[in-house]
């Protein structure tokens, strides 16, 4: 049974249809990729799932519950975490505080978990530094572990590899794989085809708001429509 | 003490509302320009209007010039003042959070008022040039207000034409839509900001010059105009220029009708409630674009 079922979702901005009746279904414990040329509607689809955009048609179900129409915070609290294409850490909060704000339980435990996660991405020494003072890659990591603080069932990653160096990237990918092994579901938007092909089990391809292909990476790579979408004819 | 409202009375206040609405629109267009291009809320807009009114007053009382002919002079003078303000102070808060621009322009605003108090005294001044009214089908059409209305329409129309057709106007609109794109297209954004602030100050001054013929002039006259201009541009959709026209007429009408059916004291309340209702339904105003 699908953890997340996106069913015929449409989103228009004025005259432009950004997402045109897209349906996808995600199973638990798997990694999915979402690819497509610039402007094909990937980030908008993310926003529709997480409640940042109100959808015009269709439905989004998460663990058998309608979540379209909910506020982003309600969606998040049901177990969907995400990162952003442009980093969105809270610059005037410290790295540790960035993690603390999303937690709810007793504070000492939360702090311990936060420091563990920072340790995990090798940022323990910078826990009390303002996030705005960190490097781009470090901020990216903070944003990544901030998602983990909420213990989400489904994680949406918007271009996790962009602007990250090789070593860091490998760590990150290893972490993603581990999350999958813990039974979480991951959907990632990525331009780096190596990452997508190496990590994802199923790939969805969007073009001009339409889903034009879906399948294992190997097959997608050979799909004519996909090649056409990317390179034109 | 209730007065029965007749259709003639409604006609009368509708006319009054439209007359003052055009003036609101003209003054508010300046505020909308600044907000659209720079995201700066200019509290000093009203005091700039006040300075424009004084230009007209002094030209009229010293040289006996026709006050309506002083409108372009007042606009030119305040264009310069606006450019200077932008170059020296305002440019520093263009990218700052709204709090900075609110406070900076508030500081400028009280300073301008105080300077005017000391230079021009707090004496009430007026340009007593034309009074009385034409009677149009039982409805009195105030002469000074009607002429001011025509001028306001003309100036507002010219401003729209300028924005729509000239290179500079297009550059201003481009900058207000996306500064990055404007930069990429080789538009000197700093210069556009200066011109915008100058133009906006000129529009305020034009409003002041026209008001000089209608109401009495004193250093504190501007404050209420800042507030009304806000109402207008938020109603119409901040940063949307035709919205300023719509908002101005709407505010003029609402104020007058509220005063007629309720009482003058509550007209502001009604205007505000309308504003909040509009914003709740359309968070960026009637003609506003998407919120980012």
């Amino acid at each position: 049974m699908a953890v997340l079922a996106v069913d015929g979702v449409k989103k228009r901005f004025g005259g432009v249809t950004a997402v045109n009746g897209v349906s996808i279904a995600l199973e638990a414990g798997r990694i999915y990729g979402l690819i497509g040329p610039n402007g094909s509607g990937k980030t908008t689809l993310f926003n529709c799932i997480t409640g940042l955009e109100r959808i015009d048609a269709g439905r989004v179900r998460f663990k058998d519950e309608r979540i379209d129409g909910l506020k982003p915070s309600q969606v998040a609290r049901r177990g969907i975490g995400r990162t952003f294409q442009m980093i969105r850490v809270f610059p005037e909060l410290t790295a540790l505080e960035n993690l603390l704000v999303v937690t709810r339980g007793p504070r000492p435990q939360a702090e311990r978990r936060g420091r563990e996660l920072l340790q995990f991405v090798k940022l323990a020494g910078l826990a009390d530094e303002y996030a705005g003072n960190l490097s781009y890659g470090q901020q990216k990591l903070v944003e990544f572990v901030r998602v983990l603080m909420t213990d989400p069932t489904l994680i949406l990653l918007d271009e996790p590899a962009a602007g990250v160096n090789r070593t860091l990237l490998n760590d990150l990918l290893a972490a993603v794989a581990r999350l999958r092994d813990e039974g979480r579901t991951i959907l990632l938007v990525e331009h780096d085809m190596k990452v997508v092909m190496g990590l994802c089990e199923t790939v969805f391809v969007l073009d001009h708001g339409d889903k034009i292909a879906e399948g294992p990476p190997g097959i997608i790579q050979a799909d004519e429509r996909v090649i056409e979408a990317y390179f034109g004819r | 003490m209730s007065v029965v409202v007749t259709p003639e009375m409604i006609g009368q206040v509708v006319i009054s509302g439209i007359l003052s609405g055009a003036l609101y629109a003209m003054v508010a267009l300046g505020l909308a320009l600044i907000f659209g291009v720079m995201r700066v809320i200019n509290i000093a807009h009203g005091p700039l209007l006040m300075l424009g009114a004084y230009v007209t007053f002094f030209l009229y009382s010293r040289t006996g010039m026709n006050p309506f002919l002083t409108v372009p002079l007042a606009m030119a003078a305040l264009f310069v003042v606006g450019v200077l303000l932008q170059r020296t102070l305002v440019f520093r808060v263009v990218d700052a959070p709204e709090l900075s621009s609110l406070l900076l322009t508030f500081g400028i605003s009280i300073a301008l008022v105080n300077v005017a108090q000391n230079l021009f005294t707090s004496d009430l001044r007026a340009v007593e040039y034309i009074t009385g009214s034409w009677s149009v089908g039982g409805v009195a059409l105030s002469k000074p207000r009607f002429i001011a209305f025509v001028f306001a329409l003309a100036v507002t129309g010219a401003a729209f034409l300028f924005l729509k057709t000239t290179r500079l106007g297009k550059a201003i609109r481009a900058t207000s839509q996306s500064r990055e794109v404007a930069l990429v297209c080789g538009i000197d954004v700093g210069r556009i900001h200066m011109l915008t602030f100058g133009l906006a100050s000129a529009l305020a001054a034009g409003g002041g010059a026209l008001l000089a013929v209608i109401v009495a002039i004193q250093p504190e006259m501007g404050g209420v105009w800042t507030f009304k201009s806000f109402l207008v541009i938020v109603l119409g959709g901040a940063g949307n220029y035709p919205g300023a026209l719509l908002g101005g007429l709407l505010l003029g009408l609402v104020e007058q009708l509220a005063s007629l059916f309720l009482t003058t004291q509550l007209s502001e309340v009604v205007a505000y409630v309308l504003l909040v209702l509009v914003l709740l339904v359309r968070p960026t105003g009637l003609l506003g674009g998407r919120q980012t």
Binding site: V101 | L103, G107, L275
Partner: protein, 309 residues
């Protein structure tokens, strides 16, 4: 330059003791001036809670002051309540107003919120003038003569301490951090599961109570209020400038800003009766341009101090 509690707490105790004793040695004006500083600390501190932390600029915060002033004055004048109880009622009334107005207005963003709050203030003034049966309208409301300045001094002092203590408690809590995430990036905060609207609303309510009580106390102390004197934009701007001067989002910024700016204003006022608005305008411009983070904000950045300075 870390401040350890071992230094801070005794110093605070000394200051508090001095302030407690001050009414017995100070002149009438001195007491009233200190009382005003307490009031400004309470106002600036309260504004800091909503605007310093969440970044939502309340450009009409004096509305709560005025609402409290009228609630308190009406309860004293018409219902014969004792002023301390009426002051509490003033705080509650302000909080209710915040709840009522927060629901629509806190959905507005950035400048729209600022303008809506500015409008709220204008509207309250118009309404107070209109319902003259209750408020005396433009006549204002005159309270029976009562010399309670000293008692009000203490109550206002407690209020200032309470607002500052509350700021401390909030800033060091996760609730406070979440409020700051709204300032930093509201969309990200929402996407991280923070219910930004209700956080804003809570902060807004808390930020209304202090001005409400301060308004009621001021009404009792002045003995006379009228719409124009309890709803002026100048009060809002003054509290904002105080917070900016001291450092927004910090605990002691509003305290420092309130005291410093009040003293500067009093001096300028007395010396230059005809041009002090010009000077005040210049101060505002200088603060905005030269130190937008305020004195403590600068120190905080430079020396990496905690927000609790």
């Amino acid at each position: 330059m870390r401040l350890s509690p071992a230094v801070v707490l005794p110093a605070l105790a000394v200051v508090l003791a001095a302030l407690v004793l001050y009414p017995f040695v100070g002149t009438g004006y001195g007491v009233r001036a200190m009382l005003q500083i307490f009031m400004w600390i309470a106002l600036a501190g309260s504004w800091n809670l909503i605007s310093g932390l969440t970044g939502y600029v309340s450009f009409g915060h004096v509305a709560f002051f005025g609402a409290g002033a009228y609630t308190g004055a009406i309860l004293v004048a018409s219902a014969g309540w004792s002023w301390p109880v009426a002051a509490l009622a003033g705080g509650i009334a302000a909080a209710l107003l915040a709840l009522f107005i927060g629901y629509p207005c806190l959905r507005l963003k950035g400048p729209y919120f600022a303008i809506a709050m500015l409008g709220l203030n204008e509207v309250l003034r118009a309404l107070v003038s209109y319902f003259e049966g209750l408020t005396g309208g433009g006549n204002g409301l005159s309270l029976p003569t009562l010399d309670a300045t000293r008692a009000i001094y203490y109550v206002m002092g407690v209020l200032a301490v309470a607002v500052t203590a509350m700021t401390y408690a909030i800033i060091t809590s996760r609730f406070g951090l979440r409020l700051m995430t709204i300032r930093e990036d509201e969309i990200a905060a929402e996407a991280m599961g923070i219910d930004t609207f209700h956080h804003k609303l809570a902060a807004f309510l808390l930020s209304a109570v202090g001005p409400g009580i301060a308004g009621a106390l001021t009404a009792r102390d002045q003995g006379y209020i009228e719409p124009l004197s309890v709803f002026p934009l100048a009060i809002t701007v003054t509290m904002i400038v105080m917070v900016l001067f001291g450092g927004k989002g910090t605990v002691w910024g509003p305290v420092l800003g309130a005291a410093a700016l009040f003293v500067i204003q009093e001096i300028v006022w007395a010396r230059y009766p005809y041009v002090h608005p010009l000077l005040f305008g210049a101060i505002i411009v200088a603060v905005v341009l030269l130190m937008p983070r305020g004195v403590l904000g600068l120190l905080q950045l430079k020396y990496r101090l905690p927000r609790t300075i």
